[in-house]
């Protein structure tokens, strides 16, 4: 049991934090949002240079062999910076699928594209009525010679508009919510039959609605054994949840810091508003919420590598419950304690609030996971 970072982790943290501090303040970020795909390709290159894009991949695949702790370090820093580059879609989600579902040959082809910052990947999985059920796949994959043909609609595909490659989940057999019968297919996003409609999200990230009409997938681009993909999808989703929790903690901590700073400087009735005990206690309650969120994120990070899917799922649900509670309280109170200016677009606290609200809603909000956790028997055995 050791909560201190080791030497490499400390160096990683220092370099990411420095990049965010130097290159990603609130004003700089505004410029990045105006980039062609809603983010900065220059920053993306710097992520590549720092090795962040290679971080979670095995050394054999050209990566740095980082684990959940390393991802936590990066994502927490990204949370502070409100980073909009497609790290989560490309490295965490798509990279995770390559790590857990792709063959060595496939990894040899695609991992370097990610690690080098050359290509953007997106995971096209969600569908209109799926809500938070990961097995809800209606999109069909039909055998076609050695390969497959895809038909269907995917929704809310994060960075699906700017992606060069899409990893698509599609059903080779079974009914819409069957756990078995799902496959993963890697396609060129500009392949014939792919239609994409991109749009902005509330938090300044971008997504796309993507449809597939007789899209061909060559045999070499089928990831794993079609039909068995649900395990990899769940595993990657659990890793993704741990990563998002870390991002939320970074955002909350910064939002809280700025709010406390405001309490110390803003004057009303002739005194700083931070001298009012009711506001002091509110700031403390926010602090407790941030620290509890940080703690459960460490738990989720520790459990992200757990092999037993059920134990891992319990931990991720627990994390989402706490994060959901914390982001609502911290986000709402950051705005409230700022008063009128807290509701304006010009202030960062509103943007942390929005981003963290979206994180809460991803993969199911806190209450969804509370029900899920309680149906799994909770965390403590009777």
């Amino acid at each position: 049991m050791d909560f201190d970072l080791n030497e490499e982790q400390r160096m990683l943290k220092d370099s990411v934090d420095r990049l965010i501090a130097d290159k990603y303040d609130f004003e700089q970020r505004k410029a990045y949002l105006k980039g062609e795909n809603g983010y900065s390709t220059d920053i993306w290159s710097q992520f590549a240079e720092l090795g962040l894009l290679a971080l979670p991949f095995a050394e054999a695949d050209g990566g740095f062999g980082g684990g959940p702790v390393e991802t936590m370090i990066v994502m927490e820093s990204f949370g502070r910076g409100l980073v909009v580059e497609p790290y989560f879609a490309t490295v965490v989600l798509s990279g995770g699928l390559l790590r857990h579902a792709a063959s060595a040959a496939q990894r040899a082809t695609f991992v370097p594209m990610i690690a080098g910052g050359e290509k953007i990947f997106a995971f096209a999985h969600g569908e209109r009525l799926a809500r938070y059920n990961l097995a809800h796949v209606e999109t069909k994959a039909t055998k076609d010679g050695d390969g497959y043909v895809l038909n269907g609609e995917k929704s809310l595909v994060l960075n699906g508009d700017s992606a060069d490659f899409l990893i698509v989940s599609a059903r080779v057999s079974g009914a819409t919510r069957d756990r078995s019968g799902i496959g993963l297919f890697l396609i060129d996003a500009k392949a014939p039959g792919v239609t994409r409609r991109g749009y902005s999200n509330q938090d300044a990230t971008r997504s796309a609605e993507v449809s597939f009409a007789d899209v061909k997938v060559e045999a070499a681009h089928v990831l794993g054994q079609p039909g068995d993909a649900i395990d990899a999808i769940e595993r990657v989703t659990d890793e993704a949840i741990a990563a998002l929790c870390a991002e939320a903690v970074g955002g909350m901590a910064e939002s809280h810091r700025q709010t406390v700073e405001y309490l110390k400087t803003r004057k009303q009735f002739g005194v700083t508003i931070g001298s009012f005990q009711a506001l002091q206690h509110r700031a403390v309650e926010m602090f407790v919420m941030v620290e509890q969120a940080r703690s459960i994120t460490m738990y989720a990070t520790m459990m992200a590598a757990e092999i037993d899917a059920r134990e891992r799922a319990r931990a991720m649900s627990a994390a989402k419950v706490q994060i959901g509670k914390s982001v609502r309280f911290v986000g709402q109170q950051s705005v409230q304690l700022h008063g009128g200016v807290g509701v304006t677009y010009e202030l960062a606290v509103g943007h942390y609030f929005k981003r963290n609200t979206m994180i809460d809603m991803m993969y199911g909000d806190g209450d969804h996971h509370l029900t899920r956790l309680s149906n799994m028997g909770g965390l403590i055995a009777a």
Binding site: L129, Y132, S207, T344, K354
Partner: protein
């Protein structure tokens, strides 16, 4: 003690409901059901329909166009307005500056301004808040220096809601810089087309533009635009702020929102299952409904006590209405996120004409939900933050 409505009151409710059903334009109703904002034109159209009926300013004294209703009737009217749902009258004219003018203004001002308010010929804005003052309203810095028959106004106002449409703005300005904080303030009416006025929109976190900054740079205002006496403006402002009681809880609006959410939750599916069948979701709704029912009764208690209360003296209980009313409104917007689920994410700018340029991602109704959740954080801030309301109750009711 008779806690039910009288037959007369119920008949009145039916009359109002029927009128709304038959006269509220369907396009306006649809927009409000969808959680979108009515446009300026919508408000003008609807106000004029009501004004023709004599219901645009029902709470005013009869001689100025009021309907002569009891407090309970006024409450019923307001409730039905929210339930319809119809736009609420522009409060800056009908509930704020209007009552100040007919109570403290001179005959000329009454004649000039009141009918134009009732018919929404004049769009009024509010110029009270200033940057850096916040809940400490009396800390205002905008000055009005007398210069012959004019005041020369310099300074800045902020949080001017819908100020972009404003024809006139009522302001608090400092006419005696030497006086103590609450003294030396005057209540001045200013034509927004006067040269030297700049309106700059403030974007809010939901991406919308409903509030503005208003800058005054050597703005010449005719002295006849002063309401009441010079340096007595703070009294009029207190009167104005104390006036807003019954509507502040927005019980009817919250009822309408809950009804709408239940309807959507019955339609929206998770796979094959309608969302409304999720027991936890239903219980969260029910918990809000209970709070709202209690608040409705609290509001009725305040309304019923109206006749026993000194005119113009604010009821401290209205602070409860503000606190609970805002908590409930915010809780509903939070629950709406759950109905939309993952479809809270896509952002669609609500453009001037309330149409969108691109087809929706997911259900169209989901689009305003996240922006409304973000935007509604304001309801526990404006009009005296909930913290200020608690200070008021602690002092005025509990004697702490």
């Amino acid at each position: 003690m008779d806690l039910s409505f009288t037959p007369e009151e119920n008949a009145f409710r039916d009359e109002v409901r029927t009128f709304f059903k038959e006269n509220l334009p369907q396009d306006i109703r649809d927009k409000l059901v969808s959680g979108l904002h009515p446009s300026k034109d919508d408000l003008v159209r609807w106000t004029r329909i009501l004004n023709k009926k004599g219901w645009a300013v029902p709470h005013w004294p009869v001689q100025y166009g009021g309907a002569g209703w009891t407090p309970v009737q006024q409450y019923i009217f307001l409730e039905e307005q929210m339930l319809a749902p119809s736009p609420q009258m522009l409060a800056f004219g009908t509930s704020m500056v209007g009552p100040v003018i007919y109570t403290f203004g001179n005959e000329e001002q009454k004649k000039k301004y009141l009918p134009a308010i009732a018919n929404l010929d004049t769009w009024w804005s509010q110029g009270f808040s200033e940057p850096g003052a916040g809940s400490d309203l009396a800390g205002l810095k905008t000055t009005a220096r007398k210069d012959g028959d004019f005041y020369i106004v310099n300074g800045q106002k902020t949080w001017t809601t819908l100020g972009q449409h404003g024809d006139m703005i009522f302001t608090l300005v400092r006419t005696d810089p030497a006086a103590k904080k609450q003294q030396g303030i005057s209540f001045l009416l200013i034509d927004m087309k006067t040269s030297g006025i700049t309106v700059r929109p403030i974007q809010t976190i939901d991406g919308g533009f409903e509030v503005n900054e208003v800058f005054f740079d050597d703005v010449r205002v005719p002295a006849e635009n002063l309401v009441g006496e010079e340096n007595k403006g703070w009294d009029y402002a207190k009167f104005l702020l104390g006036n807003e009681r019954v509507g502040i809880a927005r019980v009817g609006a919250s009822k309408e929102r809950i009804r709408r959410l239940k309807q959507l939750a019955a339609e929206e599916r998770d796979g094959d299952t309608p969302l409304i069948e999720n027991p936890r979701f239903r219980e969260k709704l029910a918990a809000i409904e209970v709070e709202l029912k209690a608040l409705e009764m609290t509001q009725l208690r305040v309304v019923a006590a109206e006749r026993n209360r000194e005119k113009g003296k604010p009821d401290p209980a209205s602070s409860i209405l503000k606190i609970k009313g805002s908590e409930i409104q915010q809780a509903i917007t939070e629950l709406a996120l759950e109905v939309a689920g993952p479809y809270v994410a896509p952002f669609r700018a609500e453009s001037e004409d309330h149409g969108w340029n691109e087809p929706p991602a997911g259900p169209e109704w989901a689009s305003p939900f996240a922006p409304t959740y973000f935007n509604y954080r304001k309801v526990s801030i404006y009009g005296g933050s909930n913290e200020i309301q608690k200070n008021i109750i602690a002092k005025a009711i509990l004697g702490l």
